[in-house]
């Protein structure tokens, strides 16, 4: 099941600054919260998201447990060339999800 929503324009003019937004389903369990039995629920967070444009890194963000559940991130990028914008989230318990969208740059 796809647990990711990426929002990026389908097409952009070369040199245009576009906004990229991404949402991912993840509990971001902080490791500070007691569960129903009173013991602390183990930490389970996404630690990092890296965005690439045709394989070249354009943005990364390291998360702490203070990032909200189902993390949302948005940033900007200069439309340089047609191709693939990919997001890769990695974190605790071997979490690794990659998702990409295509963009036409003219």
């Amino acid at each position: 099941m796809t647990n990711v929503l990426i929002n990026a324009p389908k097409a952009a003019k070369k040199g245009e600054v576009i906004e990229l937004k991404a949402l991912i389903l993840h509990p971001m369990e902080s490791g500070f919260r007691p569960g129903t039995n009173g013991t602390i629920i183990p930490r389970n967070i996404i630690e990092r998201v890296v965005a690439t444009w045709n394989g070249k890194e354009i943005f990364r963000m390291d998360f702490s447990p203070a990032i909200a559940a189902n993390p949302f991130v948005s940033f900007f990028a200069v439309a340089a060339e047609s191709g693939k914008i990919a997001f890769r989230w990695t974190g605790d318990e071997g979490f690794a999800v990659e998702e990409s969208v295509a963009i036409d740059v003219a």
Binding site: T2, N7, L23, P27, A69, S74, V97, E98, V101
Partner: protein, 278 residues
């Protein structure tokens, strides 16, 4: 697309996932109607003092709900869209084999309703469970499970912007009365009723929180307190816990009666699902 997890939880094969990508990409376009448009299009007279909980939220949360690319409820709508098309149960049938997505327009805005060959109302989640049992021959989904909420969110999303329109069915009247009786009954150690807070004191502050009028305009909602999507039943349970009353079990008919009453009370108000609430 690549999904790798040490504890893999993806029941779909890769080709299946690929197949649904184009539909997913269309999501924001298909459902672009904003809540502002919904408000404008709603049939509300000037003397109507009813307010959606949306109107009691700050600008930041209103924006979170309105922007489909920022509303976390849309993650579940997307999951629901995938489940909608996925065969399930012994009949190996998908929702999509019987219904078009377009047919779902307005459905969530008129539930709870009494299904064929029955004399009792069921809510939207109940309708999904009934379809699973009778048409898909699939097991019941657990209350508040991600799959059930996602399917409900996907169906509810098709009614965004439409006025809440309970069915004109006289058989619902006794259930509406029962729901109203529960709404007005004092319960729990704190001896409070729904009406005491949400009719008599709506708009005032309970601690720092504005008490809403309790119109179920956006269910299932993404509640920040839950950090997840949840049903109207879960929200009702929260209130019951708050007044230290024994919550009804999820299967209780009492909830459906309350839902019939509340949806009747919100008749004509625009449907917002998936709503975002604090």
């Amino acid at each position: 697309m690549k999904v790798s997890r040490s504890k893999s939880q993806s029941p779909l094969t890769l080709p299946e996932r690929m197949r649904w990508r184009p539909a997913l990409a269309l999501l924001p376009v298909v459902f672009a109607a904003s809540f502002a448009m919904a408000q404008a299009g709603a049939d509300k007279s000037a003397s109507d003092t009813r307010r959606s909980g949306y109107q009691d939220m700050g600008a930041a949360l209103q924006k979170m709900q309105d922007d489909d690319t920022a509303n976390p409820g849309m993650l579940y709508v997307q999951l629901g869209e995938q489940l909608w098309a996925k065969p399930a149960g012994a009949a190996s049938k998908a929702c999509a084999d019987c219904h078009s997505v377009a047919d779902m327009k307005g459905v969530a805005a008129r539930y709870p309703a009494i299904p064929e060959n029955s004399d009792r109302p069921i809510d939207l989640e109940g309708r999904i469970q009934l379809c699973r049992a009778s048409h898909q021959q699939a097991e019941r989904l657990a209350p508040e499970s991600r799959d059930l909420l996602s399917l409900a969110a996907f169906v509810a999303r098709q009614s965004r912007g439409l006025p809440i329109a309970p069915p004109d069915d006289a058989r619902l009247a006794p259930f509406r009365s029962e729901g109203e009786a529960i709404y007005r009954r004092r319960q729990g150690q704190l001896n409070l009723s729904c009406a005491i807070c949400h009719d008599d004191n709506a708009g005032k502050k309970l601690a720092g929180v504005t008490i809403p009028q309790a119109h179920p305009t956006g269910y299932p909602i993404y509640r920040l307190e839950w950090q997840a999507l949840g049903s109207l039943k879960r929200r009702l349970r929260n209130c019951l816990v708050g007044i230290r009353a024994e919550a009804y079990p999820y299967e209780a008919v009492d909830y459906v009666a309350l839902e019939v009453f509340l949806m009747g009370r919100a008749k004509g108000m625009p449907f917002e699902a998936p709503g975002v609430r604090p």
